[in-house]
Symmetry: C2
Subunit: 207 residues, 2 copies
């Protein structure tokens, strides 16, 4: 039976159901992160996210402040970029960028035998604004960011590291957690462009 | 340990892992749909997709033919639209469209007390080309399509119905399966814009 519900009430009702089912499962979320974890469950209908998200100390506050001060959010896919709600960000002077389809990125990646995702991250060094990375697809993007931090002195606001998949995904996320870079990570294989976008949205919607 | 692997081999290796883990779980996929189901697992790292996807008879062939003959793929989100690989589609003269952000859609939705997703689907009636719907977010988009088929004589090539979530999601997908409209559906709560795009991609990559 289709439930007759007003458009503006659908999201509220969804979060009520999530809250109630978390409670049935005996799971209570950390209040500091509940809005983010719940939105990941909302985006995926997957309660695994209640137990796999990692937040480094103070990372959410760092991201909140950077968004409010005007920064750039770099994604590894057009899909993640498309999923980030722009209306509130615009008001703060915060923008999104994705270099995956740039011609020089494709050429450079081929010449160096690297993924386009790896090379696309390096564009961050050319920006003269604080950078948040939102990575939902490519472990190689995380490796590129960690190399730049270690060797080139890159100092990102934070990395949202939620690539999905089977090759180097788990390992690159564990490396990110150990790196000391401020980060939000979904441990394990799961994640995705939709999850990267939804974490950015969960944080900005609260501002 | 990060596995040293060439960029062009990452996807191949991922699908080998998926195949091998399906085998360990004793799951054998229907050969007709294995490329689609495996890509959904690849996109989500979620093996639930091995058991929840529904295909109406002949739907894949219908979608293949329409893509090759030049059609329009209408999505309910910009994220699904962004996730569909355009290079091969371009060669067939097949395009993607998403009306969710159109000003008249927002206005009309507000006046009629409907979701923007519902109203955005109605633009399909204005197109003079065959339409495939790829719906990864809004159950109301599915309701809108089913109403147009029943009452307005709309005759879509197929509906990829994989909305995600908690309110009317399961029910709208069951209705779509019962409707007789050619469709691919992920039963249950799971799905998403990423899954909608990945199903389109799995089908077109084989062409």
């Amino acid at each position: 039976m289709i439930e007759n519900i007003k458009p503006e009430e659908i999201e509220k009702r969804s979060f009520e159901i999530i809250k109630s089912e978390l409670s049935e499962r005996g799971i209570s979320l950390d209040e500091r992160y509940a809005h983010i974890i719940s939105r990941c469950i909302h985006t995926s209908a997957d309660f695994d996210y209640s137990e796999s998200l990692y937040f480094s100390d103070g990372v959410v506050e760092r991201i909140e402040k950077a968004i409010q001060d005007g920064c750039v959010i770099i994604t590894d896919t057009k899909m993640a970029q498309a999923g980030i709600n722009k209306s509130k960000l615009d008001g703060f002077g915060t923008g999104t960028m994705c270099f995956i389809s740039a011609e020089d990125v494709a050429r450079d990646a081929k010449e160096r035998g690297l993924t386009r995702s790896y090379v696309a991250m390096e564009k961050a060094k050319l920006l003269e604004r604080p950078v948040i990375f939102a990575i939902g697809n490519a472990p190689t993007a995380l490796l590129s960011i960690m190399r730049m931090v270690e060797e080139d002195g890159l100092d990102p606001v934070a990395v949202i590291g939620v690539p999905v998949g089977f090759v180097n995904v788990v390992e690159s996320k564990e490396m990110l957690i150990s790196s000391g870079i401020p980060c939000i990570v979904n441990k394990g294989r799961k994640g995705g462009s939709n999850i990267a976008a939804c974490i950015v949205n969960a944080i900005q919607y609260k501002l």
